[in-house]
């Protein structure tokens, strides 16, 4: 996937590794049943959703999309969703990258503990995790009680029920998706690259920014993209930690499907979100190719 991986593969080849045999083989054929299953399970429902958004009483229509574009509230919700997801992704990257870097520097035992801590949220239900933040950051929560007890503030600070709360909550939930791939990539980076760089006269700062960081950029970009896409679908965390003030598409979809119910509008909204996500993905893929060329 990355230039670095290419080099590794090459190194292995020269070290006596076997070249992959090009062209179709029995292995390729064996992939088909799984591929068909995947298409049936994941892609067909997606196509039906798309179909739903394009059909009205008289067959094909763009009326649902027209309505979507003419409803400022729905556009506003989409804009808000994109903005919140973008912020959550940025904060995730800003927190996750140093965290992953820090973990790679630990001894194996501590590394294990640190990784377990990062993974911990995976083992706890999203609802429990989200409520845990209320216990920590609420008006009567740990942080505020400490601040008041220490005389730092008189009135509790409201961390929650705002975009700040949503960002904190989403970062917590999504952090593993960023930290784990980054950690794996960082561990794979040959220590000799940084040793070579510093022997060639580069300061630690230069070694990091010119050698280490660029090698992690493809993973950082890919996992940020993943976090961003997951953020778009977030529902529970914004609803609870955002105090209902942070509009997310997931909420709107829920009411369009279960309350109103207008599936075709929900389908149109989902399709637009999908297109935006795909556009970002292709932009990323293109950028990746361009930077490698």
């Amino acid at each position: 996937m990355t230039a670095h991986a290419d080099t590794l593969a090459q190194t292995r080849q020269f070290a006596g590794g076997r070249r992959n045999i090009a062209g179709p083989s029995a292995d390729t054929l064996r992939v088909w049943p799984l591929l068909i299953l995947l298409i049936a399970l994941f892609d067909l429902p997606l196509l039906f959703t798309l179909g739903l958004s394009l059909y009205g009483k008289n067959g094909f229509t763009l009326a649902h999309y027209a309505e979507l574009l003419n409803t400022p509230a729905y556009l506003g919700v989409m804009a808000s969703t994109l903005r919140v997801s973008l912020i959550a992704t940025l904060v995730n990257a800003l927190v996750g990258y140093p965290l992953a870097y820090w973990i790679t520097g630990l001894d194996p035992r501590r590394r294990g503990i640190a990784l377990a801590c990062v993974l911990l949220p995976f083992w706890v239900s999203i609802l429990v995790r989200t409520y845990a933040w209320i216990v920590v950051l609420g008006n009567g929560g740990l942080v505020n009680r400490l601040l008041q007890w220490g005389g730092v503030v008189d009135e509790p600070i409201s961390f929650l029920y705002s975009e700040v709360g949503v960002t904190i909550g989403m970062t917590n939930v999504l952090l593993p998706f960023l930290v784990l791939p980054l950690y794996a990539t960082m561990m794979r980076i040959d220590g000799r690259l940084t040793q070579a760089a510093s022997s060639l006269g580069a300061s630690s700062w230069t070694v990091f920014w010119r050698v280490f960081f660029p090698l992690t950029v493809p993973t950082l970009a890919a996992s940020s993209l993943l976090v961003f896409m997951l953020s778009l679908g977030f529902y529970v965390t914004p609803a609870i930690l955002g105090g209902g003030k942070v509009a997310m598409a997931g909420n709107l979809l829920d009411s369009l499907i279960n309350q109103i119910p207008r599936w075709e509008m929900a389908a149109a909204l989902a399709a637009v979100l999908l297109v935006i996500t795909l556009a970002i993905y292709f932009a990323y893929a293109r950028l990746g190719r361009w930077s490698r060329a």
Partner: protein, 348 residues
């Protein structure tokens, strides 16, 4: 250019002594090799000199400058690794330019010196390639160009040719030697390959179990090894009796004569040192290697010219093996006062 001096250098990791008591002076412009099997401490020695690890005892001096506690970045050494350690996200040009650009050199100067370095390693025209688009030999030449482009006073090579196939390795050995000679940079090569060590070095150091075994020019180390470890490590050794003790003689110093069906031998004058039968004859092109089982049960390996009569020997043939006394080098127990005399004789 700069000399390297190690004084009583030692390093232990978590109580395990990886290297101890190394005293060494590498002369300005010398091509010096550290040779040893894996786990011998040779790589530890290199990391200490490179500043990638700090010694637990002793001192390191480059010229008159004590660099014992100077980190890698301040040592001004060119470092080349076995796996090339090229920056995969940079082009060949950017890789080679790296040491210059971190030194904030002007663009024009960088251009000139990168071109110069690339032409030295014969890679002109490859500037825009990525390392992944090059062969192993080319990549290692890029690594070499990158290590010399900023004109370091010392070049450290850590098994630089180890990942290459034999033919390429031999080609690069020649290039490396030429390059080193033209740059006159003090060069320290770490390798486990004794042929490489013998062919490239002005002098070499043999290390085992963290302790220096011998420091000598290749020819001396080969012909007059300090102990049986060095003898064995540097090539095939035949251990023969000498003055009531043991001596070592190299296979190419043995003369082998076929004994005819009637016990007849060629026109040799002297009596053979031993007789036996060929167990195996291995044709290697430049030489034929004969494994001889002696009548007394001992074993000798001789390398004979494929053009000579002994090359016709086949397994089972009776042979006479002889050697000259001055080609036998006495080992530890045997060596005594006679050693100094022999050494003097050897050098004259």
């Amino acid at each position: 250019m700069s000399s390297i001096r190690l004084e009583n250098l030692g390093k232990s990791y978590a109580g395990v002594q990886a290297v101890r008591g190394v005293d060494l002076t590498v002369a300005d412009g010398e091509f010096f090799t550290i040779l040893g099997p894996s786990g011998s401490g040779k790589t530890t020695l290199l990391t200490l000199i490179a500043g990638l690890a700090m010694p637990t005892e002793g001192r390191i001096l480059f010229g008159d400058r004590d660099v014992t506690h100077v980190p890698t970045v301040g040592r001004g050494i060119g470092l080349v690794f076995q796996n090339y350690a090229l920056f995969p996200h940079m082009t060949v040009f950017d890789n080679v330019a790296f040491p210059l650009s971190v030194r904030k050199k002007k663009r024009a100067e960088i251009e000139d010196r990168v071109q110069e370095a690339l032409s030295l390693v014969r890679l002109t025209g490859f500037e825009k390639r990525k390392p992944s688009q090059m062969s192993g030999g080319q990549q290692q030449r890029v690594a070499l160009a990158r290590a010399i482009v900023f004109r370091p006073t010392i070049l450290l090579l850590d098994e630089p040719l180890g990942a290459l196939d034999r033919k390429l390795r031999e080609e690069l050995q020649v290039e490396l030697k030429e390059l080193q000679r033209s740059l006159r940079v003090t060069t320290l090569l770490v390798t486990h390959d004794q042929e490489e060590a013998l062919s490239l070095s002005d002098r070499l150091l043999v290390i085992d179990k963290g302790t220096v075994q011998q420091i000598a020019p290749p020819r001396e180390a080969y012909l007059r090894p300090a102990n049986s470890f060095v003898a064995d490590f540097l090539g095939i050794s035949n251990f023969v009796p000498l003055d009531g003790g043991k001596g070592v003689v190299r296979p190419e110093r043995l003369q082998v004569e076929l004994i005819g069906e009637h016990g007849s031998r060629g026109p040799s004058v002297t009596a053979p040192n031993a007789t036996g039968r060929v167990r195996e004859a291995v044709y290697l092109g430049q030489v034929v290697r004969l494994h001889v089982t002696l009548d007394d049960g001992g074993e000798l390996i001789a390398a004979v010219s494929p053009a000579g009569p002994a090359a016709l020997a086949q397994s089972g043939d009776a042979v006479a093996v002889s050697w000259q006394r001055e080609h036998v080098w006495p080992l530890e127990a045997t060596r005594s006062g006679a050693e100094a005399a022999r050494r003097a004789a050897f050098h004259k």
